[in-house]
Amino acid sequence: MSANLAAETLAAYTTSSGEAFQFWVLGTVAVAGALCTILMRKAVYSALCLAGTMIILAVFYLANGAYFLGAVQIVVYTGAIMMLFLFVVMLVGVTAADSLKETIRGQRWWAVVCGLGFGILLTAGIGNASLTEFAGLGAANSAHGGNVEGLAALIFTKYVFAFEITGALLITAAVGAMVLTHRERTERAATQRELSEQRVREGKHLPPLPAPGVYARHNAVDIAGLLPDGSPSELTVMQTLRKRGQIRDVSDEALADLKALEQRSEERLGRDRDEEEANR
């Protein structure tokens, strides 16, 4: 207990060399994580990198004497919010990789200029402010018996209105999310018969769609089947994969494989023939 208090006091008034070491190591990792977040082509990697950064931030909160926030950061942010992100990434397509090629003219250039300028200005601003001394949180944390108690005292007195309003905001957000994502079915779902009749009326794809990988060696669903002329048909891949752009483009590969197969069978057949001829 006394050790805990001592640590608190320490965190509140001074920075130990241990904290400095922790800062430099974890800080580097956090920056790396942030950079990875924006540079990874796949959203799921970005999410994971971000989660890492957030966990490191939670550690920094703890180091700064914000014990409650540190815990909340891990539980709410890393736990809840990042998971939500991952869910959505799953929904949208976990393996889809974005092209990092810029399409808006001048966008990247301006982004870099603004980013650099902004960073420099912020740094200058911080450097400009005389922040060499600091008060520490010891007194504030111990006023009500601890960090959590202190926060509680503030939240339920001074910030009680804001707190209540955020409560309302959360409820609204929850309801809003449901309204946005929930689709009420306003009509009876079409039966298979109706669907086929509709297809007949529209005059397209009367027969069932071709199955994927007809000529392929394996029945992977993400490989387009090849048409008789050897070109791959996207129709053969299921719609969701198509939309996500997750068709494995195998045409060349398949053709090469085919060629290899033919060659091999040729060789074997030739060898067999040769053998036969030889046998004859």
């Binding site: 808006i104 966008q107 301006w110 982004a111 603004c114 980013g115 300028g117 902004f118 200005l121 912020l122 200058a124 601003g125 400009n128």
Partner: protein
């Protein structure tokens, strides 16, 4: 007694209000109401006159103050009246002649469906004119001055359905407004100089300011007088004003309103006395107009326009006399009064002739009318004799005095002015004889008009002849009555001041010369129009005649310079306003539009590029904050 002064104005004003607001139900009685109220004014005037005669010469002026009109710090304009001998003279002339002409109009306007309104306007005029002469300050005078202008506008344009009448009315008002501008500037100068514009303080303090200021006031007053009294260069409206009904021409454009300019100058005598330069200009204007009007009068075939030229010329006499200073003021007024009688009589006579001739005004289509209209002939004839200065009649006395005064001006000036007035007298005799001969003598020359109606000349009804007869009496006797024992001079002397002029030649010689030139004028006219038949279609005539027929090209000049120039100016200004002033604004709008069209392309719809600008903006804000703190 002084409380009656307001009633003088009030009676006709009431008449105007009742008649103009009363509506159709007064159509039957309207003319009687109008005439009655004008007569009431005349009776009050007579009562005041009697009262005034009962007091000593220095104590005759009456004052009545009703209330403060415009109460503003340092600017006190009162509704207040002053009735002195000068005003009295005018009151009697206006209400007297005015009443007679009301009576005359009952007959003359009998067949006009808007007769009630006509009488309303006439009453309005009488009220405004009385206000003009009774005002005790220049601002109130200005009120009356514009009031008579309005009445004149309404009456000239009474037959509004005729475009010519409407145009003439507008022209009269506009030209008068130019004169009014002079009057208002004069009042402004007075206000800044004297701090007031009441007659008493202003005229009493003329010695305390510079001659330059007084000259400026005098010239501005003269401009006003030129406008109202149709003096050169603002004379052009008077001829056109004859578009109005003839009683109007008689009352407003012969006897009363046009003489307001003379009143103004005589009333402001102290200012002019102290500003010799202004006086000189007055004299020159008078002299020029007197010849100008006379020459125009010689050339016109329209009987009313000929008389209008004559009016202009006679008022030129008055203005000239007024410009001569104390030796002339009284005679200016005297001529004004006698002229009021005989010119009103002449116009009424002309109206009577037109009445009998289906409103024909071209004298070349008259001739020999004396047999058909004996009363008109006699009264017109007496007026004619009066105006040409036939010895013993009114005009002789008043005009002779002016000619004497002109000579008495002294030096070269005196000789020039004297000769001009004499020449004027000769021309007057010439053109009036011409009118007389063409109208009443010779063969009958009238023809059926376009619709085949042959005129049947006939004498006018009693209501018309009676005023003519009364005015004829005035034309014959007024001059003598005034001159015997210098009555008129003594009457007006306390107000206008008077000095006996001393002409370089004897008065007798001047009188003889006057009579002689009159005889010459009559003689020439007789040779031209009495001995020979008058052609129905006017001959081409000499260059001067043709110019005179066109008012000596004054109208053409005005038209070319002011009307055409003004039209061009306004048109080009409309263009400028549209293209330049508005164009600058619209151009700004267009260039802003163009700029935003270009800026619009930044709006590419990509949220990310908006985010860049937001981010950049934030960076700029931070930079600005840092800079501010650094500074």
């Amino acid at each position: 007694m002084e409380n009656l002064i307001a009633l003088l104005i009030g009676a006709p004003l009431l008449g105007a209000a009742v008649l103009l607001l009363g509506g159709r139900r007064l159509d039957k009685a309207g003319h009687w109401i109008g005439t009655l109220l004008a007569a009431v004014s005349f009776v009050i005037g007579l009562a005041l006159f009697a009262d005034m005669l009962g007091r000593s010469a220095d104590d005759r002026a009456l004052y009545q103050r009703l209330y403060t009109w415009i109460p503003v710090e340092g600017f006190q304009a009162d509704i207040a009246f002053q009735l002195d001998q000068l005003s009295m003279t005018f009151v009697l002339l206006i209400s007297g002649v005015g009443t007679l002409i009301h009576v005359y109009s009952i007959g003359y306007m009998e067949h006009d469906e808007r007769r009630r309104r006509f009488f309303g306007y006439l009453n309005l005029f009488v009220a405004a004119m009385l206000l003009l002469v009774l005002a005790d300050n220049y601002l109130l005078l200005y009120f009356g001055w514009e009031g008579v202008g309005l009445a004149s506008y309404l009456l000239i344009g009474f037959w509004q359905h005729k475009p010519s009448a409407a145009t003439a009315a507008k022209k009269a008002f506009l030209v008068n407004r130019v004169g009014d501008m002079g009057l208002s500037i004069a009042i402004m100068i007075m206000f800044t100089t004297f701090g007031t514009f009441a007659f008493g303080p202003v005229l009493g303090a003329t010695g305390e300011t510079s001659e330059g200021k007084l000259t400026a006031i005098g010239l501005m007053l003269l401009l006003a007088a030129c406008g109202k009294s149709a003096q050169v260069p603002l004379q052009s409206w008077l001829g056109d004003a004859m578009e109005g009904p003839t009683p109007v021409s008689a009352l407003i454009h012969a006897a009363t309103m046009v003489t307001a300019g003379v009143y103004l100058i005589v009333r402001s005598a102290d200012i002019f006395n102290a500003a010799p330069d202004a006086q000189l200009v007055v004299v020159v204007v008078g002299a020029v107009t007197l010849l100008f009007g006379a020459i125009v009068g010689c050339a016109k075939d329209d009987i009313k326009k000929a008389l209008a030229g004559s009016t202009m010329s006679q008022i030129g006499y008055m203005i000239l006399a007024a410009g001569l200073g104390p030796i002339g003021y009284v005679f200016a007024i005297m001529h004004l009064v006698t002229h009021g009688f005989f010119k009103a009589g002449l116009f009424l006579g002309a109206g009577s002739v037109m009445h009998g001739m289906n409103d024909e005004v071209d004298m070349r289509k008259y001739g020999g009318l004396r047999k058909y209209m004996p009363v008109t002939f006699v009264t017109f004839g007496l007026g004619y004799l009066a105006i040409i200065g036939f010895p013993g009649l009114s005009g002789f006395f008043s005009k002779d005095k002016i000619i004497e005064a002109a000579f008495a001006k002294g030096g070269t000036e005196g000789w020039i002015l004297g000769s001009v007035t004499l020449l004027g007298a000769a021309i007057t005799a010439y053109y009036m004889t011409r009118v007389m001969l063409m109208t009443f003598f010779g063969e009958k020359r009238w023809q059926p008009d376009a619709e085949g109606h042959e005129p049947h000349p006939h004498e006018s009804p009693r209501s018309m002849t009676l005023p003519m007869i009364l005015l004829a009496f005035g034309s014959v006797f007024a001059g003598g009555l005034f001159s015997i024992g210098d009555r008129f001079v003594k009457w007006l002397e306390p107000v206008t001041s008077f000095e006996h002029g001393h002409p370089p030649i004897s008065a007798g010689a001047i009188t003889s010369a006057t009579v002689a030139v009159m005889v010459v004028g009559v003689g020439i006219a007789y040779l031209q129009y009495g001995r020979r038949p008058v052609p129905v279609v006017a001959p081409r005539g000499s260059l001067l005649t043709r110019a005179a027929r066109r008012d000596l090209l004054q109208d053409d000049f005005n038209h070319a310079v002011f009307v055409r120039g003004g039209t061009h100016l306004t048109r080009s200004l409309v263009y400028v306003d549209h293209t330049l002033v508005d164009g600058v604004v619209n151009g700004t709008a267009a260039s802003v539009g163009g700029l935003s069209g270009r800026l619009r392309k930044l709006q590419n719809g990509y949220a990310r590029s908006y985010a860049v600008s937001m981010f950049g903006g934030t960076a700029v804000l931070i930079a600005a904050t840092l800079l501010m703190r650094a500074v």
